[in-house]
Symmetry: C2
């Protein structure tokens, strides 16, 4: 069984792509991030809600504000990656629904008038978009280093003072550096994951 | 700015890929699902936890058990798609950690001894894997129709009687049928999503 996607693309996105722990000095430009976004923005979300928001940390001051909230084991790589992106869910995404779902603008009030419903929907759909973004980083020929080891409440307050965003993951981005990877970890077998009824 | 991923692959996975609402009769084989899994299993998760579990609904009885829990607007397409996959998070994923994270088996007890922590981590990481799976379906030349309109508690009980799984999304899979798509919805502009500090 072969896939429609060519083998080189399979390798680039999945088979040879790895979570990088070190990076080279080569910078990552805004144009590269824009090209990534302009590809992965087409990934599907429920009601086309698109709750993902991205903060690119470029200034020295921003980097320091970020690193203080990272777990100790993530501080060194977060300090040295060419670019770091904070990926968060916008729990007030419904404000954009009338423009993003023009054939059904009532969805904003019919389905998303309650904050807990929005938070739950934003968490799932922004996570889908975070995965599309990681794939997009790889599509750009870059390595992604997604991390979840951080003080989430601290990051929410530090970068989203409005109380309306929930940080999901922080992603180091760049060309891999020396000894960038750990050995590839195992994967669950198909029969451990997939059952049929 | 061009991406490393070739344009045909960009189109296949994102730019021309669409959420299908109707499907042809052409079946989707177990071999196709295995090829999809064997590609997307390499997508990254925190601690290599791989919490995604997949139920393929193939029998008539299974289809009926599923459709009763779907929202009315999703019943027809869930009834007629060549294959339907239920994607769930395994909240007891930590049982597999010693085999899946062999260099750090203590992670199971150090980080994941508490159920609420596991649920939160499984929800995020299984959602990342759900997105990889959607991309994988497209990589196989098939259309995916992910849905979140269903009675989640009903599905959890119907297909995972152990109380240890949380259904995230149900995905219709197949070749697109007649009038398979709505018009492409808009997307948020780069400047609405990305900020820089």
């Amino acid at each position: 069984m072969t896939l429609a996607l060519d083998a080189a693309a399979q390798d680039l996105l999945f088979r040879e792509a790895r979570t990088a722990n070190t990076f080279s000095d080569e910078p990552v430009s805004d144009e590269q991030v824009q090209a990534i976004y302009d590809l992965v923005k087409f990934g599907p979300t429920a009601f086309n809600q698109q709750p993902l928001r991205i903060v690119l940390v470029r200034s020295e001051e921003g980097r320091a504000r970020l690193v203080q909230h990272m777990a100790d084991g993530n501080k060194a790589k977060t300090s040295t990656a060419p670019l770091v992106a904070i990926l968060a869910a916008d729990n007030e995404f419904h404000e954009e629904l009338p423009s993003q779902l023009p054939h059904f603008p009532q969805a904003k009030d019919l389905f998303f008038s309650e904050r807990p419903v929005r938070e739950s929907s934003a968490a799932l759909n922004a996570a889908l978009q975070a995965a599309y973004f990681i794939i997009g980083v790889r599509a750009a020929g870059l390595a992604a280093g997604p991390m979840t080891g951080f003080d989430a409440e601290g990051l929410n307050k530090e970068f989203f003072g409005d109380g309306e965003h929930s940080v999901l993951t922080v992603v180091n981005i760049g060309k891999p550096g020396e000894e960038a990877w750990f050995p590839r970890g195992p994967r669950l077998e198909y029969d451990q994951v997939v059952t049929t009824v």
